[in-house]
């Protein structure tokens, strides 16, 4: 896919910097709406979890984790459910709009992890974690990034499906059944949350490492001086 590229000339020095329009408006909008709703859903979800911080039978109850109230949203179970039942719709809407846009625009090709990306994963891991050389790339996203973003979208979908199975274990009993029953649906929902938190953590580390122009691009769409050579 041809990217929209401009060359910016500094009036004083005459220096030329490249900038690429990397994130279309819908992607940026969905990114931030999704970030906010994920934050609210995790916070309120943990408050809901505090009402029964365990998995399995209520009697005998074995509390798995005591999650501190300070790191939860909603104040009490009823309040947390209000946030959860409200933001789940915003989360779903932003997810559907994002995926729909990516498919419609063909933009998904940038981030969809496909089999031909597999050989590129190890060199990127070596670069990030073991100070190996940085593999050259003509694409906006390297194989490891594609893997991370594709996984995040799959996790997002699973978070919604497991959530539906907990919210509607009768109307969608087949969904709860597929997840191993109501008990397991609740456990999967919880584990998928942690997987998403792990993604966000890694994502934020990368944002810090890649600097300001990369961060700004998720607001303006334009990335100045990209690390890759767009075609």
């Amino acid at each position: 896919m041809a990217s929209h590229v401009v060359e910016i000339e500094d009036a004083k020095t005459g220096e030329v910097t490249q900038a690429v329009y990397e994130h279309p408006f819908i992607v940026r909008l969905c990114h931030w709406v999704n970030a906010i709703s994920l934050f609210v859903l995790v916070g309120s979800g943990l408050q809901i979890f505090r009402a029964f911080p365990s998995f399995g039978a209520k009697i005998p109850q074995k509390d798995l984790i005591h999650w501190p109230k300070a790191f939860a949203i909603g104040g009490w179970l009823g309040g947390a459910l209000q946030w959860h039942l409200t933001f789940m719709w915003i989360y779903i809407a932003s997810g559907l709009l994002y995926v729909g846009y990516q498919l419609f625009s063909g933009n998904y090709k940038q981030i969809l992890f496909v089999p031909r990306d597999v050989p590129g994963v190890w060199p990127m891991v070596r670069h990030y974690f073991f100070f190996g050389p940085k593999p050259a790339s003509k694409e906006a996203y390297n194989p490891l990034q594609k893997h991370a973003y594709t996984s995040a979208i799959v996790l997002g979908l699973l978070s919604v499906l497991t959530g539906i199975a907990i919210w509607k274990p009768v109307q969608f009993s087949w969904l709860a059944w597929m997840m191993g029953g109501f008990h397991y649906a609740r456990l999967w929902h919880f584990l998928i949350m942690w997987a998403l938190i792990a993604f966000v953590f890694g994502h934020l580390v990368m944002v810090v490492l890649h600097g300001w122009s990369n961060f700004v691009s998720m607001f303006t769409g334009w990335k100045k001086d990209p690390e890759y050579r767009p075609e």
């Binding site: 000339e9 909008l29 931030w32 709406v33 906010i36 809901i48 009402a51 039978a57 459910l81 039942l85």
Partner: protein, 239 residues
Amino acid sequence: MTEHINQKKFKSMSRRELLKLTPMVALGAFAIPQLQAPLLKAGVGFSDWASGVLFRSGHLAPTFTDAEVAPFDKFPVNDYDVDDPEIDLNNWKLTVAGSVEKPGQYTLAQIQSLPKITQNTRHVCVEGWDVIGNFGGARLSDFLKMIGSATLAPYVTVECADDYYESLDMATALHPQTLLCYEMYGKPLTREHGAPLRLQIPTKIGYKQAKYLTKFEVASELYRVGYWEDQGYSHFYGL
């Protein structure tokens, strides 16, 4: 062909793109105290509306084998006030009122004269735990026929000996698994499980399934929804 622009142009392009994100500010309304409560109420209201749409009268909640039923002593008890509101079980009657042809006082024997249904279903608590139990009682739909209820009335409400109160949409009240429950595990309801009569509704969350029933009404309007609902819980909470 790459476009050449100056820095000023790039800044204005970037600013224009940034401004496109202004609709995001709308989400900030959730941070304004005066707007937060009505917005969350609307969100829960939308979820309740969706729950109503998703409810299917003919769709049965999963039922389980006797082997899957939790032992009686592992069936949790949640109350909001007391485990035993000290009902005089010998003289207990259910007061029936509202849009019905035969209002008045109904004895347990009258309710037990209706066909008895027993079912192994899952009880799901809003707290997150669940338990499979064995329940016995009369279909609420049969009782509604007995009292000559207007089935087009939208709601059924109940009041309880512990001052708890609840309401149900008529579609759920008429669901074949919705019971006026007087037995658990083949024995009369124990005091902590709501003796002598409780609602048992496999298609609803636990707090809808009121215990210690004393009054039953068929209503065309709700002036209150339920003990927990009126404090901010979901009104419909169908499973």
